[in-house]
């Protein structure tokens, strides 16, 4: 898969890196000379130019690209890059700079398929680090829906039970289960929950603290789990 990333700054370059690590081809577009050199030094194909111009995007082989990530710090440039990308049939991902704008772009920007607000993702990571322990928020799926990973502890009430015996509250689904040393997998109802196992649950915010007390048995401020 070929991906075009506009902006080789802290968000764009990092994204390019993880795409490359997953075996994808990435072309970066960047107009700041210093950033171009840094990205080239890191071994990336970099086009030196303005990613909000069609001719630049054309030379990035946009027609062959699967998706374009408009990840600069400039909202106008990002939006224009997505509009052009859409014309070429690419899936488009746009970085925004303030969280209230997420709603506006979701609603009105029909050329933008996905919106990324890096600070929100950073806040989720920071929250997990602060909470520590056996619960990790993976993502906010929607305003009221969160994806959470729980780790079964020795004191967890569900420890020793099988997955089929696990009864979660309404508005929640068990999506994945993994033994402590194995990758996550589709839940097998016959598996037993041991200490160190991981469970990935999709839950409504209102149900999260119930899920938490059922699975890991801790009571705590459920607010800490709320959206980032």
């Amino acid at each position: 898969m070929l991906y075009v990333i506009v902006g080789a700054g802290r968000v764009g370059l990092r994204t390019a890196r993880v795409l490359r690590e997953s075996g994808h081809d990435v072309t970066l577009i960047e107009r700041d000379e210093g950033a171009v050199e840094r990205a080239r030094a890191a071994g990336f194909d970099v086009l030196d130019g303005d990613g909000a111009l069609e001719e630049t995007l054309e030379s990035a082989n946009l027609a062959e690209a699967d998706a374009i990530g408009a990840l600069t710090g400039d909202l106008n440039d990002n939006f224009v890059a997505c509009m052009i990308g859409k014309q070429y049939g690419c899936r488009t991902v746009m970085r925004i700079d303030e969280d209230y704008r997420e709603e506006i772009y979701r609603r009105y920007a029909s050329d933008v398929d996905e919106i990324i607000y890096p600070e929100r993702l950073g806040a989720i990571a920071a929250k997990n680090a602060l909470l520590g322990g056996n619960i990790r928020a993976i993502a906010d799926i929607a305003q009221h829906l969160q994806l959470v990973e729980f780790t079964i502890t020795d004191s967890a009430p569900m420890k020793g039970y099988s997955l089929s015996e696990l009864e979660l509250p309404a508005d929640t689904r068990l999506l994945a289960h993994g033994k402590s040393d194995a990758p996550l997998d589709v839940p097998d109802p016959d598996e037993t929950l041991d200490a160190g196992d991981h469970l990935v649950v999709l839950a409504d915010f209102d149900a999260l603290s119930d899920v938490r007390s059922i699975v890991v048995g801790e009571s705590g401020p459920s607010k800490a789990l709320g959206g980032a």
Partner: protein, 76 residues
């Protein structure tokens, strides 16, 4: 007649309501939600420069969810 363009920056995602309330202000002829550094651009058409200030500075800024405005008076 004085024509002016008012750039509106919001601090809410509720852009529909903002546009609706802005469109209801006397002198506002058009309001569009835009992509970029500002969230709405509003066209104002009134009799005097003072009325521009009244529409833009006073009425638009009074709307809940408006962060700031910047007004440009057309010279042509």
């Amino acid at each position: 007649m004085v024509t002016a363009y008012v750039m509106v920056k919001a601090h809410t995602g509720d852009a529909d309501r903002l546009r609706g309330e802005i469109e209801g202000i006397d002198g506002v002829t058009e309001a569009h939600i835009v992509a970029g550094d500002v969230d709405l651009i509003v066209k104002v058409s009134v009799d005097t420069p003072a009325a521009v200030k009244d529409a833009a500075a006073t009425h638009v800024q009074d709307i809940e969810g408006v962060e700031s405005t910047q007004t440009y008076i057309a010279m042509d």
